[in-house]
Amino acid sequence: MGILKRIAAMFLILGVFASAYGLQRVHEERTRKRETPRVRQEIRRLNGGLSLRAEGPRFVPGQVLIRFKPSLGTQLIEGTLALYGTETIKRIPQLNVYQVKIPAGISVEEMTYALSQNPDVDYAGPNYIARIAATPNDRLFRYQYALHNTGQDIGAPGSPNGKDRADIRATAGWEETKGEATTIIAIVDSGIDFGHPDLKNKIVSGGRDFVNDDWDATDDLDHGTFVAGIAAAETNNNEGMAGVAWNCKILPVKVLDAYGIAEYINIAAAIIWAADNGAQVINLSLGGDAAADALRDALRYAYEKGVVVVAAAGNYGAGTGTYNPAVQYPAAYDAYCLAVAATDYNDTQTTWSCFGPEVDVAAPGDSVLGTYPTYMTDLTKYLPYAFGDGTSASAPHVAGLAALLKGLKPWLSVDDIMNIIRFSADDVNSGEYPGRDNYIGYGRINMEKALVPIKITR
């Protein structure tokens, strides 16, 4: 055999090897399942789609909050309080903060000033009031543009269709994780409808009612039920709506009364109670315009316990009766919580969303579908769901994402989770305000980027 024939024979053999490889190569395909809950009844829109802003006093009359220096014993503190003629209403031992009733005839401002002059007092201030950042309006998945927007009719009467992909990429994020049942989101709000079909299997306990000081956090407003559903409604159950955190649980903590009012002392106590009772994420869809050290310290307490706190920025921006666009407290405590602004179905910042340097991210807050108390609904006509507007609706989207991250990567610190949510956001207003801005912070949250491996190609 000639050398050329031998060479040809070798190439032929090599060719057979290569072909064999090609034939045996296995291709993998992924199939993605998407399920769409069905709407059973008509959903109507309430309140004309306006975000609700409660009006009223900024703080509780006749009360102040005081924190004494840690070196002071209980007896000395009680003696000091007696000297000022105050009467202790409540104490948060973890913060060493006292809620006291001041004597008649002395204003809160005067007492605050007098106490702040005492060298044994760390701080003293009014018991400020926080209010709901939105109220649910009308009352499923195809209507949840916030989670998956295909430019569909978003369901709320009078609203235009949304813009394709103006959503938080929830369906893509769920491909990576649907959350862990061990992850608990505390909804510090107006309580919850324990019998709601989309919530009843998600609630870990009866919760805590700081308004009535008992253990029954039943919602007598609707706001807490609405918020809880956005964060973690039971999903893929052929019922109602989808929650951001499919498998995570809800811990209801009631601080808002039937009028949507919450005292700062109760919010602070609720944050601490939630952090001490298994919450890994706390949602605060409420806010007040005053800073308060007790509130800040409660947030710090939760932060130091590894709890991610998410708070609504507030709804006092342009086009509202009360123009007070500064980010509300507790959201304004930047170091310890994520402040969430609102975008709409077109990925546009809403005019009414509060803004400022404290805003971290934004999430859909316009015409957002949430759960609505069954006992407040004429079930013969309506489903126990409603559309609502406000940063109250935005915050639980972020709380849900934080809960998914907690379950997926439990080793991450609070700062890590907050930064992941910030840095993975889509800068949807980059045309007008490139980079981080005071209106939507780093941008509208993106669950896909936060949860699913980001592909780096050459």
Partner: protein, 261 residues
């Protein structure tokens, strides 16, 4: 050219030195008179590597291109040692890092590195139409750090990766020596690749790193090749190998030239 010069892994070399010294002097007769031969080698391989992630097996395709200078020494008749030094380019498909703050799937093309290797070949049966050698090989690819920007973030962020992998193989080589100028050969071999890929993520103050221990899914290969004696001083070798594994087959191709002085 009748011999099939191959190389040795250091460990394999030690094993040979330690356990088979008596065999060294009795193998096949020298096929040429050169005791030192330099050469060039190009190797392309596509291997499936796997790792454990949250208790579950995950896999990635590792593609490597190796270019190296080969220095072959004939220690004694039938016993060859070779050293390799050169450049390696390694790329991975779908190498996923889920323990980083922001999970990353890397499919980012070749990552350069330093290639070091050693080979040993010992003739067991020689002198007839067929010869039987045993060949051991050790390669180390010491990857250089490479940086990539993370796309689509609200802020600038990057990851820096550094793959290091090693390959050890050992097995007999059966060669047919009945043809003038062409020596086809066939070999089964134990062939194992293992290594690490460290990826560091930095997105402002958000930092994390993850090390992925990778291991080849296939540990057995079957190869076929031929030595072509282009002249009395120039040898060209081509070989191809298949590495069957669960669910498919990996492969490699090698071309080597050797010069005799």
């Amino acid at each position: 050219m009748k011999s099939r010069p191959m190389c040795c892994g250091t460990l394999v070399f030690v094993l040979f030195l330690g356990f088979t010294p008596a065999a060294f002097g009795q193998a096949r007769p020298p096929s040429d008179t050169s005791s030192f031969r330099p050469g060039l080698e190009l190797e392309y391989g596509s291997r499936t590597v796997g790792w454990t992630e949250d208790g579950q097996e995950a896999t990635s395709k590792m593609t490597s291109f190796l270019a190296s200078l080969v220095l072959e020494f004939k220690i004694q008749p039938g016993f060859l040692l070779a050293a390799r030094v050169g450049y390696s380019s390694t790329s991975f498909e779908n190498l996923v890092f889920r323990s980083l703050p922001l999970s990353i799937e890397l499919e980012a093309g070749g990552i350069g590195g330093l290639l070091l290797g050693a080979e040993v070949e010992k003739a067991l049966v020689a002198g007839g139409t067929f010869s039987l050698d045993v060949v051991g090989q050790f390669l180390a690819s010491l990857g250089l750090a490479k940086k990539w920007d993370i796309p689509g973030l609200a802020v600038e962020g990057s990851v820096q990766g550094k793959p290091t992998w090693m390959k050890a193989s050992l097995g007999p080589v059966l060669a047919y020596r009945g043809w003038e100028g062409v020596t086809p050969f066939l070999y089964p071999r134990l062939d194992y690749i293992w290594g690490k890929f460290k990826l560091e993520e930095t997105i402002q103050e958000l930092k994390g790193s993850e090390e992925r221990d990778i291991k080849a899914k296939a540990i057995f290969g079957l190869g076929l090749g031929a030595d072509l004696e282009l002249s009395t001083r120039l040898l060209l070798r081509g070989e191809a190998a298949l590495y069957p594994r669960e669910g498919g087959t990996d492969y490699s191709f090698t071309v080597r030239t050797l010069f005799a002085f």
